[in-house]
Symmetry: C2
Subunit: 693 residues, 2 copies
């Protein structure tokens, strides 16, 4: 039966690739546009590909070094037996390749779909919406399909859950750098373009005279499409890996046990539900794009709940596990709705911040920071309640089931991730489409349509971001469980007896030491990324000034005068590649340091501190950023004096601060906490052997 389920998982993965291919073909078959659209579109495509290629070259070297270190030391030093180490290193490399591939596919289709959506916007909103959504859905299908396929294959070939952690670590470490690098790139370009274009010169967003405008559009792709895809690929794989580590342990190591089957079954149904959800997404007659995106998400959620219930009944899985998974899904949705409250322009926080902007930028910042801080409560309380509920419900099943229940809650929450990615990737595609319409002068009507599509993208993005953070949070709690399992299994092998570690007692100063240091890391990590953006944006602003000052006729928009777009792309690329390594490396080194100083106990505390403060800061920064963005848009819609008013100027300051908050630092923290959790699990034997105290 276990084998059948895994074969079904592979079949559904392949089906999702088929759907992705079909969507890709559909997008590609949409009508071509004018010469100008194609030219600018090519600029964007080339810029994105160049960045990705150069990033992957650097990351390939980095992955190579890590793979060698894994080969030498993980799970045990190679002189104590090489086979496990080889499996681990290979799993790691496969993880990085899958993650990179998913990002690459996403960029490929996104840089075509943006043109198609722009062209379609000339004739009507429905096809334009579909071009954007289906372009995003290719990414969604590719990411979820490859994560399910990868996990299933690695598990079938190695029959070892620890190898899955290696696979997951490969995916995460690539995601860490892809998200950081893409995040720095996109915000460097965005901030610089806005600062000189909108603020100094008062020219519109996406004005083709602006030398940074193409870099800005490239950034949407490499940051939001490729980076976000890598992020959710990573969470998805990690949640499955954590669940399988504990399931396998509960099943006594047999790969066909009931719990292992449950994990594969639910994950497969999640992907299937997403495929159906993507298939049903379209705009009805009197529909708006936000509604279309949300309703297909709810369809996916409903289908998942029903299908897993049916599977649970017929395959005689535990109903308690089903409840845990459903709670995860429910809480994910609630957290998304809470994020929406704090960032939606029809709700109180946006109105308050917009109104405060009338008193100047300091009040924009203060009120935004305040609401950002408030916004962490519902999400953190939600995750707290979800994990407590999953525990209480699954605990009666026996020892070890409580933590497994939490991991299944994460799997449940991530079951609709295919749909979430589709919605999320839709955003940058239609944002790009809007840029193309403006740059290629496709007319006011098309601009209105792409504006409507873009606005829906922003609204949905707040929900998906809250969801992504919550999913990462629940996943790392599950990884904490996986870490304990790993430590105990390593201790068992080392003859330290069973149940070597019961847990991590806060009152043990080693744990408390880890807790404090772990909590500081996300703050330092965010600071390093934001300073990277800051430094890079300053370089780019100088370059834009140089072009406006030296290229004759550029500022005036003389016919035929084109800025040197590639110079700006180059600055963003070089800067992002330079800044992306240190922050990630710092997080990794801090983990190793704490582990070598305080051993597994300190690491337990470190992970808990890291999760707690990581969630806090990620939620704060994402929601405050979204809030500022929408406050600016709210004022631009004519409120409080509209564009050009003092309130607008203040709101632009808020938006500029919010940009690296929400698109660089905030979402990167997700990946940071996952990477750190996985390193801890993989290094458990090493930390058990070597530590100062």
């Amino acid at each position: 039966m276990g084998m059948v389920i895994r074969l079904v998982a592979i079949a559904v993965s392949v089906l999702s690739f088929g759907v992705a291919l079909w969507l890709y073909t559909w997008v590609k078959a949409q009508p071509k546009g004018s010469q100008k659209v194609e030219t600018i579109g090519e600029y964007i495509r080339k810029g994105a590909n160049t960045f990705l290629r150069r990033e992957y070259v650097i990351l390939a070297r980095f992955a190579g070094i890590i793979a060698i270190l894994i080969l030498l030391f993980i799970p045990t030093p190679i002189w104590k037996g090489a086979s496990d180490n080889i499996i681990m290193a290979v799993s790691f490399l496969v993880g990085t390749c899958f993650s990179a591939l998913a990002g690459r596919v996403g960029i490929q289709v996104a840089t075509i779909a943006n043109r198609k959506a722009a062209i379609a916007a000339q004739t009507g909103i429905k096809t334009a919406f579909l071009a954007g959504f289906r372009g995003g859905a290719v990414m969604g299908m590719a990411v979820v399909g490859s994560s399910l396929l990868g996990v299933t294959l690695v598990f079938m070939l190695t029959k070892d859950a620890t190898a899955l952690l290696g696979f997951s670590f490969g995916a995460s470490s690539l995601a860490l750098f892809a998200k950081a690098g893409g995040g720095i790139f996109t915000k460097t370009a965005d901030i610089s373009a806005d600062l000189v274009g909108k603020v100094e010169l008062g020219i519109p967003e996406d004005d083709p005279r602006n030398p940074a405008v193409i870099a800005d559009n490239v950034g949407d792709n490499v940051g939001d499409v490729a980076g976000m895809g890598a992020d959710l690929f990573d969470s998805n794989v990690a949640s499955m890996a954590a669940a399988l580590v504990m399931a396998l342990s509960l099943d006594g190591g047999t790969i066909n046990g009931k719990n292992v089957m449950t994990v594969f079954c639910y994950a497969t149904i999640g992907l299937l539900s997403s495929i159906i959800g993507v298939g049903t997404a379209r705009m009805g007659k009197r529909d708006n794009p936000t509604h279309a995106l949300n309703s297909s998400t709810y369809v996916t959620t409903g289908i998942f709940a029903v299908l897993t219930a049916i599977a649970t009944h017929f395959l005689q899985f535990e109903w308690r596990i089903w409840i845990a998974a459903t709670i995860g899904l429910l809480v994910g949705t609630i957290i998304g709705i809470a994020s929406d409250y704090f960032t939606n322009d029809s709700k109180h926080p946006v109105h308050y911040v917009s109104n405060a902007s009338k008193s100047g930028p300091a009040f924009t910042i203060l009120s935004g920071v305040s609401y950002g801080f408030l916004s962490v409560l519902p999400a953190m309380a939600g995750i707290a309640v979800a994990s407590l509920a999953a525990y209480l419900i699954c605990d009666p099943l026996g020892p070890g089931y409580a933590m497994y229940g939490i991991s299944m809650s994460a799997v449940g929450m991530l079951s609709i991730v295919g749909m979430i990615i589709s919605n999320d990737a839709y955003g940058p595609i239609v944002d790009n489409a809007r840029g193309l319409v403006e740059m290629a002068s496709l007319g006011e009507e098309a601009l209105d349509i792409t504006d409507a599509l873009d606005s829906a993208g922003n609204t949905v993005k707040a929900v998906t971001k809250g969801f992504a953070i919550a999913a990462a949070g629940l996943t790392v709690i599950a990884l904490l469980g996986a870490f304990t399992t790993e430590v105990n299994e390593a201790a068992m092998r080392m003859g330290k007896g069973p149940q070597f570690i019961q847990g991590f007692d806060i009152m043990t100063p080693k744990v408390f030491f880890g807790l404090l240091v772990g909590a500081a890391i996300p703050a330092v990590f965010s600071a390093m990324l934001m300073l990277g953006v800051d430094r890079n944006a300053q370089r780019m602003v100088s370059e834009i000034h140089r072009q406006f000052n030296t290229i004759v006729g550029l500022k005036e928009g003389r016919e035929g005068v084109i800025p040197e777009y590639d110079k700006c792309i180059d600055i963003a690329t070089v800067g992002a590649l330079k800044e992306l390594i240190p922050a990630g490396l710092m997080a990794i080194i801090a983990t190793l340091l704490v582990g070598f100083i305080g051993g597994v106990q300190a690491i337990g505390g470190f992970l808990a501190g890291n999760i707690v403060s990581g969630l806090l800061l990620a939620l704060f920064m994402s929601n405050a950023g979204g809030l500022w963005d929408n406050s600016k848009k709210y004022i631009e819609s004519g409120k409080h004096g509209g564009r050009g008013s003092d309130a607008h100027k203040a709101a632009v300051v808020g938006d500029t601060v919010g940009d690296p908050f929400k698109d660089t630092a905030g979402p990167s923290i997700n990946t940071q906490i996952t990477v750190v959790s996985l390193i801890a699990s993989l290094m458990s034997t090493v930390f058990l052997t070597v530590s100062l105290f």
Copy 2:
């Protein structure tokens, strides 16, 4: 012997009151100034007293309600025996009175010392410095003397450490509201005065035409003098209480045991060292005020280390405990120095932020947030290392000694608190003096001198704030130990057996639930305070506009036209009193909720989460705020275009954001975490009896 030490403690407390009285008389005996100085000085004094009186009326009612609740339910419901409850309620009320009294004394002398320093500045810097410093020292002596006296008396009368927690809770809950209320008052006035005066009208700081200028000076007193005094009173009492709870438990309940003696002995020596330090503080011939402040702090530190070593030798205390206390002191100093690095205008962060301001306010904010985030690492790692080291050193003394060692580390860190408060209260006094010099037109030379004194106040403030946060952090870790002791003693009384609770395992979902919710509270608490400032400042800005628009001749500065200062003071007062209750109440209710839902296990996690995220946010906000303040001053000193340049405008935005960060939310979090920790200890029996899961 124990009795002797306690009598010495009382004697030294009385000595400190004598010193305070002598300093007060000295300050009062300084020459009187012109009519104008006295008039304006009276405005400030009356405003501060009015606010304090109205605040205390509200807080008295609040304290009354809490006292009744304590009487009814703590430590056990009153129908199970009333005597403990009466002791607890009385201790609580005595704690609130002592705290209020210390604040009152501080205000009394500060509002005289500011005038004296202003007058003295006309003749030279040395006397002006002494007037400021000795004014602050009155507060320092009063706070530390009354905390030692209070703790000793309560302990002698009740012979019960739990009653000390009640006393400490009284001090803390008053501090919570005093800090929040004062913080909202001061920043409401400061921001509004700057926004209309400096930014809109371009008139200097402390210009007498500005209707909010007196309120601003009142705010310095009620926020920085009274609020900060209450805060450190609270930390000081809490650190002694936590240490005594554990010492008494280690000594088997005998009040003359060695550990109890050590606590009283070290605390007494700390006060004695501070008295000597205060006595030696003066400016040498070629001295500057910063150096004078710092060197007397180092003198205090050295004396404490030497005297405690001598006492340890002769009284045969444990040397390991001495080392733990010394480590605390050392780490406190290091954290102060780290805070200084991030906020000092001769260091890299201030230069970076000032330079970034040239690109606009968004970059001021982004770079300040980034360095603020970075600044949490040294402090959190320092506390982590201090607690780990104290543990490792004291653990060999026997079970329970490790946590006691950490509490003695906190006592060691707080031993120099008398000196710290003196330095800290010096700041607002000379800031006020500068205002008086400007408002009463005492001449350029006097302005230069008070500027130099004020600048030293700001530099030292960064150090003392870092110190205060670190002390609170270490104290609450000790309180976590006290909480465990209390729970186990309560469990013992309830017949649940000894060592009912070993600790709090993060892997237990109840603990994790508490951890997540506890971590969210400081963010919500800060948000509520900052929104309070925001709302209140908006009201005050309207009032200032009204005055400038309706009072004829005010804007032009026509002779004899005086703004309605009292209207602004009234708005700040009413607003602060309205906003101060909800945030504090939220923190208290959240603690009760978590306790009633998840019992003592959830509370253990809740406290840990609260400490970790509280430290993180308090350090971030205090340091970022100080950084922005000094960046603005750095630009005002003529860098990057000086006053009026674009960089200056951007830096002012940073400073305005930083004001409630560093003077309202950041330091209030200290008190919030202490209050929550004390409630947890006091409610331990109740939570053991009644909880949902």
